[in-house]
Amino acid sequence: MRAWACYHYELIGYRRTWKGSVFSQFIVPVLFMLSIGLGVGTYVDRGGALGAVDYVSYLAPGLLVSTAMQLAVGESTFPVFSNFEWSRYYYAMQATPVRVRDVLGGLLGFLLTRVLVGAGAFLLVMAVFGAVHSPWLLGTLPVAGLVGLACAGPAIAFAARVTSAANFSLMFRFVLIPLSLFSGVFFPVERLPGWLEPLAYVSPLWHAVELSRQFAFGAFTNAASWHAAYLLVWLVAGWFLAHSSFTRRLQK
């Protein structure tokens, strides 16, 4: 199948850099857990704001999906842009029987693999920090995959539309970082100023954080399926957005 060939292409490219990236996939969560989880956590737990839950256990499932989102978005911006603008490899693929949906399918499949491996590493780190409370924790893996793909679609579309890589640092600064700060990863969104709170509900990351946390503690609310549905909508809409942006860019 042609999408598999595209997936294979992504994997071959990754083979050259995987050592460094796997290493950082363990290091980043460890650093976060140490500094914020344990450091800040000491004060949070002393204040008793979270009741019976310790801050590391509160933080970890949110951090997990936030990291997944950042990984997926990061891998859908510069590499995609480069294949249009620098190496122009997408134009080489365009000359073969491969269709846009195959390229996108291969890319999303690759991102899913990356996110799942990263999230798996994260779970191991969580186990080391004693933040495992329920066998349902494994359910955070598909949540990480879902939020990764849901955010990858719009990111790919963006990368296919911009004409300069400088746009990405703007996107990271004004979209990605605020998103990861204000989507309930570090503190409940109810703590946000009133005008900011509704924005959190729009953010796909917030829905993923909520869902991931419910899996981590094995305690589900009625909202769980709505969170999943919301992420699916982003996934489907993102796919079509990416597909049309891709097609348009290839005509240039």
Partner: protein, 309 residues
């Protein structure tokens, strides 16, 4: 049956019409060339034939199929060498071929076998496991050509295959393309090198401003648009300003006399006879050269000597 047929083929980009209704027919086993100055519409035409750029108007049929509806089927049987290389420079030389093969549904083992054979064909076997990035431009070009052959295409589209190559590499590429042609592969190429067109093309068209302005075999074009020989007369620096009046003095010696900023060109069937007549009329050039007409003379005659853009 022709492999490629275009009738009134057009390509527009917004207000600009890059290809203004051309008729082309390429027969099986033929080497067909597109010549033309920068911006003539050669690449735009090649992209429409390669099914990566939809046509704006007109008819186009490749291998009996319509690119608008059967792009994937056609692409499976084409090889494409684009004007600018688009290799994945992070991958190795060999990987660039094997990965690409997968896009055509070629199995892993078969891909490897073909890749090694093609590296031999373009003399890159020694570099098989090196990353592409640091390779020279000529090596990348050869790799791009090898990649275009991975699916054993029936038609190979080559957009300026040898631009930027040193003479050795150019001759290697010509020789390889000639071998492909002998195997029955149909070649469609664009080039700015007239010697390349003369060497490789059975038939060619000259495009200018999106239109076809001449068509035929290299020999036919020379016969039709030029004389058998050309005499180049150069003069000393202080006579440069008088080239016009010198040309008048030589009127009638040749079929056509062209006055360039630095020399006169006499288009004549017999160069030596023309030179004798020049001397007989008392004109003493600083240097005299009689040579055969080339495709370049035809090209410059048809498309003009001034830069278009």
């Amino acid at each position: 049956m022709a492999l490629i047929t275009a009738r009134g083929l057009q390509k527009r980009f917004g207000d600009l019409t890059a290809v203004k209704g051309i008729d082309v027919q390429v027969e099986p086993g033929e080497a067909f060339g597109f010549l033309g100055p920068n911006g003539a519409g050669k690449s735009s035409t090649m992209k429409m034939i390669g099914c990566v750029s939809p046509r704006t108007a007109g008819e186009l049929s490749i291998l009996g199929l319509d690119p608008a509806t059967h792009a994937a089927e056609i692409k499976a049987r084409l090889g494409v060498v684009p004007q600018t290389d688009n290799l994945d420079v992070e991958l190795s030389v060999l990987e660039n071929l094997t990965v690409y093969a997968r896009f055509f549904g070629i199995s892993r083992a078969e891909a490897r076998r073909r890749a090694l054979e093609l590296l031999e064909f373009v003399q890159l076997t020694e570099r098989a496991n090196d990353r592409v990035e640091p390779l020279s431009g000529g090596m990348k070009r050869r790799l791009t050509i090898a990649r275009a052959l991975i699916n054993e295409p029936e038609i190979v589209l080559l957009d300026e295959p040898t631009t930027g190559l040193d003479p050795q590499a150019r001759h290697l590429v010509w020789e390889r393309l000639f071998r492909l042609k002998q195997r029955g592969v149909t070649l469609v190429l664009t080039t700015h090198y007239m010697d390349e067109a003369e060497q490789l093309c059975d038939r060619l068209v000259v495009m200018d401003g999106g239109k076809i302005v001449a068509e035929g075999s290299p020999r036919e074009l020379i016969e039709r648009h030029s004389t058998r020989e050309v005499v180049e007369l150069r003069f000393s620096l202080n006579e440069m300003d008088e080239l016009g009046s010198i040309a008048e003095k030589l009127d009638g010696i040749a079929q056509r006399i062209e006055t360039l900023p630095d020399r006169l060109l006499l288009y004549a069937a017999d160069g030596d006879a023309a030179i004798a007549e020049v001397h007989a009329r008392g004109v003493v050039p600083a240097s005299v050269l009689a040579r055969r007409s080339t495709l370049e003379d035809v090209f410059l005659h048809i498309t003009g000597r001034t830069l278009v853009d």
